[in-house]
Assembly symmetry: C3
Homo-oligomer: 319 residues x 3
Amino acid sequence: MNRRNPQLNANGELIHLLSTEGLGKDILTQILDTATNFVSVSTRDVKKVPLLRGKSVFNLFFENSTRTRTTFEIAATRLSADVLNLDIARSSTSKGESLLDTIDNLTAMSADIFVMRHSQSGAPYLVAQHVPKHVHVVNAGDGRHAHPTQALLDMYTVRHFKGDVSQLSVAIVGDVLHSRVARSNIHALTTLGCPDVRVVGPRTLVPSDMSSMGVRVCHDLQEGIAGADVVIALRLQNERMSGALLPSSQEYFKSFGLTTERMRWAKPDAIVMHPGPINRGVEIDSEVVDGPQAVILSQVTFGIAVRMAVMAIVASNEG
Amino acid sequence: MNRRNPQLNANGELIHLLSTEGLGKDILTQILDTATNFVSVSTRDVKKVPLLRGKSVFNLFFENSTRTRTTFEIAATRLSADVLNLDIARSSTSKGESLLDTIDNLTAMSADIFVMRHSQSGAPYLVAQHVPKHVHVVNAGDGRHAHPTQALLDMYTVRHFKGDVSQLSVAIVGDVLHSRVARSNIHALTTLGCPDVRVVGPRTLVPSDMSSMGVRVCHDLQEGIAGADVVIALRLQNERMSGALLPSSQEYFKSFGLTTERMRWAKPDAIVMHPGPINRGVEIDSEVVDGPQAVILSQVTFGIAVRMAVMAIVASNEG
Amino acid sequence: MNRRNPQLNANGELIHLLSTEGLGKDILTQILDTATNFVSVSTRDVKKVPLLRGKSVFNLFFENSTRTRTTFEIAATRLSADVLNLDIARSSTSKGESLLDTIDNLTAMSADIFVMRHSQSGAPYLVAQHVPKHVHVVNAGDGRHAHPTQALLDMYTVRHFKGDVSQLSVAIVGDVLHSRVARSNIHALTTLGCPDVRVVGPRTLVPSDMSSMGVRVCHDLQEGIAGADVVIALRLQNERMSGALLPSSQEYFKSFGLTTERMRWAKPDAIVMHPGPINRGVEIDSEVVDGPQAVILSQVTFGIAVRMAVMAIVASNEG
């Protein structure tokens, strides 16, 4: 196991994107600045740049997510790469082949970038430390650990609508404990100098010891979003809605659902974000989703540009 | 709800293809004429034109149909578009996201054209009225309502082999009641001035009140195809073959199956069409399928060109 | 039924690749020589040549194999072809359409090459004899019959590492009886003049009458690989591991598993090959897989080049 940050080469350049944790402000800012240039590509008549022409991008989704896979496929296609979607659930992995044997095989087919989602936390690290120098790994979500491109597109969105992150109050509301999105956002916000990050939700989903991540823990929604510039609602996973962690989705909405009235507790010009897909009427009211403060669809648009930026940057650096 | 035809913009130009119903002879003819130019593309050495280069076409098949999806994928690829196939059954829709939220998300990824199949009649209308002006919807089959590209390729085929539709007798044989193909063909034939359209089948599948659509209802095959220039056999869906509507597929074949002998009731140079996939020996005898009057594979070939024409036309018009 | 070899046109040029059986040394050598030129394409910065630009390659996998399908998709993409993956299990075939009706439909969409895997031996022959002259069929594995591109990439690998096949001893170890890979390799080796081919395994998997194929049958591993230049381990299918044919995978490993110690029976510079995916600890020990004699990942790399060569050659010849 290498003590050096596996995301960076010896020159400190990004070669894999595995987590926002451990990346400096310079790298995060480089990605966001590069994404700015790519936002316009998707508004052109010909939505393509030739940056990754002839490169092979493999979408390795061990956990199914049509939405995230699609955004990476679009991003790679707009960079002119060749994209291969591997239906992993039905492939050799199920024939008993190990993860690293699968990776070795695809590397032997001259892969350039692996975009990888896996239910096990850390799987992309394992792969990144295994592949040869010219191959790059982008984590598209691993277990409860990290979802760095979602965090980066969230940072892009915050910066686009509210400017300098170091002047802002940001509240993350919902099932923070189980959310890789929340975790990656907290690291990115902290690194970019955000002085006031709050995590908001019931004690079962936001335990008090999360304060060790440098955030304020709030179990009351009003206290949690009071004066916030940015409110990020997390998706409530169906599997938490009944049982030990939450009494029901209606109960959750009663205490923590974002409504137009409650949004008045935040700053008047606060924005509302959500990683999608939305459960209308569970973590967020339809009126808020469709209202003027929501920037949820802008997040999606910026997500393409941020993923283009990440792939373009890692592909330009050697391990 | 807009009273204007949602398929046309204020200048009367085609911006969505949702149904052959409500489209004028000028629009139908424009599509068929444009398709003529595209037929030759598929016979070239390099089967591509750069018309939709850098455009994003999303195949949204909420109802599975590998065949139809493939024809649209080929058509879009030959126009040089980037095609994304969304496996909707496994995507966010199944996570409780609404159809329009899914559409908003994909639109935010800078989609240009949605090709959409849905089990609910009218779903493509809902989407067409929801998307921004620069996004286009092509209906690839909605419930029992419409299948306009199938009807247009049928019109192309008729025109190619038999010339001016206003001089022809056309018989549609089979489960007309439940067929979106039949419905779309009837509208297209009527609009193009076909003076003699017959719908032919047992009372359970061809009720007498279908005559209100401007067609002649026949419950006897001989009467139905007598002197016809064109005989369109419909696919008999398996789910109708037993039970209340039909005694059995053998019974159906005995009364309404197209055989070489029975085809003598039609004009000697009549053509036989079928939307596929064929049930040999159920709605049509193998000898007819493989015989000189069948133009079923030409329909497939023309289908690519017609779909290229539809996508090229809608993409060139603003909403 | 045509008596002429269906893989060759009247000039003796390759128009379909169905089996290594029946192909002469000249054709096999042409494929291997052409592949040499394509190996470098996958190491370029832009991994593409425009040879098949605008051609339509259909991947028809009636039997699922993500790995093999992926290698053909990559090969076709690097030749700049448009690739369509057909999810046959869910398509019209399951609606009762016959194989040849499906093929006719896809041919009518202007297919150029069908890459086909099928559980029934001979299915690709049926298709090759059915399609028009300008359409080509590449067998990606049919039943227990043949897997010619695997055999060709194996021949490429042997030639690359050990030189002239006519000077070599080659041992194929494992379930030879049920292996289309073994069968295709035996034909290719024999045609290329390999003087010493041994098939090695228990009597249930390597019956004595296999000697009629011109190979030596060995039921003892030491005898089988003694002095061999090349040892090809076959994958042991799970379904054989218990029951009548084999007592258990542990028993098999005890008698026929390749270990570092046993590999000393072969020549000191012998290479070890495997078609993948590997069952570590069943047919081959991990130490061998990861050791210096294994060329298993080179096989994968050469497989892309060999498939590019096959598609480029057949596409350049008329039926």
